[in-house]
């Protein structure tokens, strides 16, 4: 790997890698790997959201099992994702047959890692709903269920989406690592490049992964901006506080705690 020391030579070889038409076609080409990465990531995110959001809403609404949220988020953060991946691949590898042998263990790990941030943010979103709003809803004769769906869930939406965003980042990062268990996706360029000492390929794959993560994050941020009602965003709060304010204390942003909820890259 002595040649890697020459910075500009490597940069030109990375450009060469991107420019090589062979890397853009076939089963191992960039478009296919990119789609695979996105496909696995979205599947895992969907499953994690289907588990995390209802559970978080339930725990936040009833207050039952709140210890689970803190405990789960903290203890899972301590588990090394690479170790978890390998264990899952070895445990399930001998039990599953066909093409799914590479996919199922990896998706499972992605879901396991993505549920806690979604669950925790949904829970704290519901917890953080202004008690006065909740009381007013009950006072208007709403049932528990409609308070949950019409007041608590919408008010918690900014935090829920923050949790979804950090879960997605976590998933994209871990799906990259999952390439060692023969899962497809962009991580394959890094793993395969490492195997044949092709640094240009590794860098190319890394740039693609980083770009994918940033683009997905930007898209989700945009979705959040479009989906969350204006009255619930910090923008509106800032405007409101600017009107009434004698002090310009920054409003607590819905984003605060996003990384804290995510924990792991």
């Amino acid at each position: 790997m002595a040649a890697h020391r020459e910075g500009d030579i490597v940069i030109s070889s990375v450009i060469g890698w991107f420019g090589n038409p062979d890397n853009w076609t076939g089963d191992g080409g960039i478009p296919v790997r990119l789609l695979q990465h996105l496909e696995y990531s979205l599947a895992a995110l969907l499953i994690a959201a289907l588990i995390g959001i209802p559970l978080g809403l339930y725990i936040g609404h009833t207050g039952r099992g709140a210890f689970l949220v803190a405990g789960l988020a903290n203890s899972l953060r301590a588990l090394p994702s690479l170790g978890l991946l390998v264990v899952m691949a070895l445990l399930l590898g001998s039990r599953i047959h066909g093409d799914l042998v590479y996919v199922i263990p990896s998706i499972l790990v992605l879901v396991v890692l993505a549920v806690p941030p979604i669950l925790a943010s949904t829970y704290s979103g519901v917890q953080g709903v202004d008690p006065a709003a909740r009381d007013a809803a009950y006072g208007m004769g709403m049932t528990g269920m409609s308070v949950l769906t019409k007041v608590e869930a919408p008010c918690a939406l900014p935090l829920i989406l923050s949790g979804v965003r950090s879960a997605m980042l976590q998933i994209i990062a871990t799906a990259t690592i999952a390439a060692i268990t023969s899962l497809g996706g962009l991580g394959r360029f890094i793993v395969d490049g490492q195997a044949v000492r092709d640094y240009a390929q590794m860098v190319g794959g890394s740039i693609l992964v980083a770009a994918l993560a940033i683009v997905v994050e930007a898209v989700l941020a945009l979705v959040q901006r479009l989906v969350v009602p204006a009255g619930l965003t910090s923008r509106a709060q800032r405007r409101a506080s600017a009107v009434s304010a004698e002090r310009t204390e920054p409003e607590p942003d819905a984003e605060v705690g996003r990384e804290e909820l995510a924990g792991v890259r």
Partner: protein, 216 residues
């Protein structure tokens, strides 16, 4: 399992020490950098959003990708542990700049006024009053960064950087569980130990604050 451990105790111990080093050094560097940066973000409000935005953007990049690209930017060898240290410093910094700014923001106004009235000004007030009062909030960010660093260091095993993560790739390659179990147990223990260490330090540095169990 026992016999594997006995035969490989030396290797595992050196991996463990390397892991400790790679997980904690970035944390210390990031804290030293985050204190002035957090102060700046707090002092000059308009800098807050771009600074958090930039660190947030870096935080978005998956760790494996960062480990691979950094040698190109730093001119280091791909196997150089420095890449891991720099990458984790970036991630820790992304967490800590915001935490330090929030922590400094949590200092009650009357405390600041009282300190000023007692004659504390400028740097002296910052180090004697503001920073100590912010310790519990900063420590919360440190705990998250410390625990996630332990997991992130392991990822560098895919490039061959020696630390506990190599036990995972070894276990995968040989379809063999003992190194896997040892690696996971040691990673979890290390994460818990670092977390506990920060908790103890917080209690020593902020004795007035009772850190309630379960609030993390």
């Amino acid at each position: 399992m026992i016999s594997w451990l006995r035969d490989n105790a030396g290797t595992v111990a050196s991996y463990f020490l390397q892991h400790v080093w790679l997980a904690t050094l970035p944390l210390v560097i990031a804290l030293v950098l985050a204190i002035p940066l957090g102060w700046v973000a707090r002092r000059y409000g308009w800098l807050h959003t771009p600074m958090i935005g930039l660190t947030g953007l870096l935080y978005t990049i998956p760790s494996l990708a960062l480990f691979v690209v950094l040698p190109l930017i730093l001119g280091t060898q791909i196997l150089d542990p420095i890449n891991v240290v720099v990458a984790l410093t970036i991630y820790s910094l992304a967490l800590l700049v915001r935490t330090v700014a929030d922590g400094l923001g949590s200092v009650p106004g009357d405390v600041e006024q009282a300190a000023t009235a007692m004659g504390y000004t400028g740097f002296r007030r910052f180090f004697a009053v503001d920073l100590p009062v912010a310790v519990p909030v900063i420590a919360a960010g440190m705990r998250v960064a410390a625990v996630s660093n332990v997991s992130l260091v392991a990822v560098s095993a895919l490039l061959g950087v020696p630390q506990l993560g190599l036990l995972f790739t070894d276990g995968l390659n040989r379809d063999y569980f003992p190194p896997l179990v040892a690696g996971i147990v040691l990673c979890v223990l290390l994460a818990l130990a670092l977390d506990g260490l920060i908790l103890v330090l917080t209690r020593l540095l902020a004795p007035w604050q009772r850190i309630a169990r379960g609030t993390s």
